[in-house]
């Protein structure tokens, strides 16, 4: 598989994974369809460097366990997100460091670069929003964060999250509810972004 095979969009994920049990090479189509999506989610969670490895691992594990895949409505993505989330659980500290770094240093820690002075005000607002989001996310319990970000970033429905995390749909709702409560509680203690901030303040 030195080069990418064309992906037949009419063939479902379920059919591809099912076929790959007898014909391993068929699994390449799952890779071509979903690698970028899974990579993007992981990169938002733990940064690009770690995502390079975790995205690759996700598809290696998925391939290794393809015979256990149960066809679900919504294709292979919830299943892939489950594997990715499980792999992420081994790198909570990395994610926490990333969030804490952004919370302290804002965009500088994310981009490691400076911005033009003409963009200073807009960037200051962006910085405060970045810091605020990082503080809020860092304060969430890991399993609440998983549910919330699969919903907000991966765009999964409650039922898809339930499939992805192998938990009851009711638990998804309760975790989302508690995540929102936690955000409200933590958010009330944080300064709100101003339209005309004087400086980029560090959020405690």
């Amino acid at each position: 598989m030195a080069t990418a095979k064309p992906v037949d969009e009419e063939v479902t994920d379920e059919e591809i994974v099912g076929q790959s049990v007898a014909d391993p090479g068929a699994f390449g189509a799952i890779f071509e369809r979903h690698f970028s999506t899974v990579y993007g989610y992981l990169a938002r969670r733990v940064g690009s460097g770690m995502a390079d490895d975790l995205a690759s691992q996700t598809f290696m594990v998925a391939f290794d366990r393809r015979s256990t895949f149960h066809p679900h409505e919504g294709g292979a993505l919830p299943w892939l997100y489950r594997i990715a989330t499980n792999l992420l659980s081994n790198h909570r500290r990395t994610e926490q460091r990333l969030l804490e770094g952004i919370a302290r240093f804002g965009a500088e820690s994310q981009h490691n670069g400076s911005f033009g002075s003409e963009m200073a005000e807009e960037q200051a607002i962006v910085n405060i929003e970045l810091q605020r989001a990082a503080v809020l996310l860092a304060a969430l319990e890991a399993h609440h964060r998983d549910v919330l970000l699969l919903h907000l970033w991966a765009g999964l429905s409650y039922d898809e999250i339930a499939l992805a995390l192998d938990i009851p749909s009711g638990t998804v709702r309760s975790r989302l509810s508690r995540a929102r409560q936690a955000l409200r509680s933590r958010g009330a203690d944080l300064p709100e972004p101003s339209l005309h901030p004087q400086t980029t303040k560090e959020i405690p």
């Binding site: 970028s36 490895d53 690759s56 290794d64 952004i102 989001a133 409560q181 709100e192």
Partner: protein, 492 residues
């Protein structure tokens, strides 16, 4: 007002496209796995990880700028870590109790509720913190009835920040709780409790953090489940009264289940009616009453233990005149199958008032000895995070004013000079040495706050060695009860 959900939705929302080189590397790894599979050499998860670790070196070399970013983030995390590590819970060796300042312990917040007189079943508010950050309190309900005085605790109060803030929930599938939540496995959301569904006494189970509950009936003839200890979601030991009345003289019978409450087996509790119990591994200890064989004589208060997961029990040896506190299910705790701690009172003579005492066992509850260093403090509750790290909370010496005549504060009113303060004793060496931490009174408190909750910690729950949460001693008819924690606040 900024929408924090939207802020998080937009967070780092730039397109994260993998480099072509990264995609090609991943594709080739997968292709190699496919080839091995076709050749009948299945690749294991372990080898997947090893392979990835090797590859990550070259990946990081390709992305030097990202490594720099990660380094900046790591430094930030290290700074935060140092701040928290700089306030250790130090144990003092050499016997006795050393006093530490409350640099680590602090008032976390106030649990708000409609706590009312609840002379039945659970006292007003029974707390469980199964994992860091997450705590539950089952709350006393103002409704007391039916006519037999059956108690209710129908609310569930949940904190997700180590006791700083609390949200009251109305759980589905439960009328009331009769024990605190027990969450022995997982992430703290798989919980069991004794309770009522309608007029039926049941064992309750939740897999969604207490939002919804399913129930299983108790054995025939059992009244209420008044105490419960579970070492897993399937193995539990429960104390059940003979009827649904709240005040059942003496205590209850002991039952065990190995299937999550589908079936129960009656234990041989050596004739003792238990009031409280605690289990760790195969060891269980409990306290209750042994009815006298002589007519007219008061029952004896006894301590028993089990070394077979609660199936059979034997009377234990305790210091003369000692009895466990029966008002709190947290007055006895086993850190492991060998080491147990208990709080209670010693009656030195019929004419003298009882004195507070802490006892310890190092043989699975068979024999108990007084812990002299902790005598005479009004200790009330024990929690162990490991087999070496335990905490005992209380309120110094008893305060006759607040304990018998509770008062509340007006909004913003400064608290009066305390006659006693919340106190926590900590050990990191399985009880060999103890340190003492006192928590100062706050300058201002919300209206309706329990006064005694500011002078004593009634319950403590420590899910990890770095997180303990204390619940202030409950008053009657209070709206706010102070909660305490030693968990670092802010980012962790």
């Amino acid at each position: 007002m900024i929408d924090d959900i939207e802020v998080i939705r937009r967070f780092r929302n730039e397109p994260f496209e993998p480099d072509a080189e990264v995609v090609q590397d991943a594709r080739e790894q997968l292709a190699a796995a496919m080839l091995r599979d076709q050749l009948g050499e299945p690749i294991s998860t372990r080898s997947i990880r090893d392979l990835s670790v090797i590859d990550s070196t070259s990946a990081k070399a390709r992305h030097g700028r990202r490594v720099m970013t990660a380094a900046i983030c790591s430094i930030a995390a290290l700074v935060a870590l140092v701040v928290y590590v700089a306030t250790p819970k130090s144990a003092i060796r050499g016997g006795g109790v050393a006093t530490l300042s409350a640099q680590h312990w602090q008032l976390a917040g106030f649990a708000q509720s409609d706590w009312q007189p609840n002379p039945s079943g659970p006292t007003s508010g029974l707390m469980t913190c199964p994992v860091a950050r997450l705590c539950y309190i089952v709350d006393g309900d103002p409704v007391v009835g039916p006519a037999d005085g059956m108690g209710h605790a129908s609310h569930l109060i949940v904190s997700m920040d180590d006791g700083a803030t609390w949200t009251e929930e109305d759980p589905v599938g439960v009328t009331s709780f009769t024990t605190p939540l027990v969450c022995p496995e997982g992430n703290g959301e798989n919980c069991i409790a004794g309770g009522m569904q309608g007029n039926d006494s049941v064992l309750l189970a939740s897999v969604d953090g207490g939002v919804t509950w399913t129930s299983r009936g108790l054995p025939k003839g059992a009244g209420r489940l008044i105490d419960l200890s579970c070492t897993s979601l399937t193995h539990c030991v429960g104390v059940m009264t003979s009827n649904q009345n709240v005040f059942v003289p003496g205590g209850g019978l002991v039952f065990t289940t190995e299937d999550g409450g589908s079936s129960w087996a009656r234990s041989n509790s050596a004739g003792v009616l238990l009031q409280l119990l605690a289990c760790s591994g195969i060891t269980c200890v409990g306290s209750g009453t042994l009815p006298s064989s002589a007519p007219g004589q008061a029952p004896a208060i006894v301590t028993i233990y089990s070394d077979d997961s609660g199936a059979t029990w034997t009377q234990a040896k305790v210091p003369a005149g000692f009895g466990f506190l029966d008002s709190s299910s947290e007055s006895v705790e086993c850190a492991d199958a060998t080491h147990c701690l208990g709080v209670g009172e010693v009656q030195s003579s019929p004419t003298q008032p009882d004195t507070n005492a802490v006892v310890a066992s190092s043989d699975g509850g068979a024999t108990w000895q007084l812990v002299p260093a902790l005598t005479n403090y009004a200790t009330r509750s024990i929690s162990c995070a490991t087999d070496r790290d335990c905490w005992i909370a209380g309120g110094g010496r008893p305060d006759p004013v607040t304990s018998s005549n509770p008062i509340t504060y007006k909004t913003g009113e400064a608290a009066p000079a305390p006659t006693t303060s919340p106190v926590v004793f900590a050990t990191q060496d399985a009880g060999l040495t103890w340190s003492k931490i006192t928590v100062p009174m706050p300058k201002q408190v919300p209206v309706g706050t329990s006064a005694s909750s500011l002078t004593a910690i009634g319950q403590i729950s420590c899910p990890t060695v770095t997180v303990c949460v204390g619940l202030g001693s409950g008053d009657l008819s209070t709206e706010h009860t102070a909660t305490y924690t030693d968990a670092p606040t802010g980012l962790r």
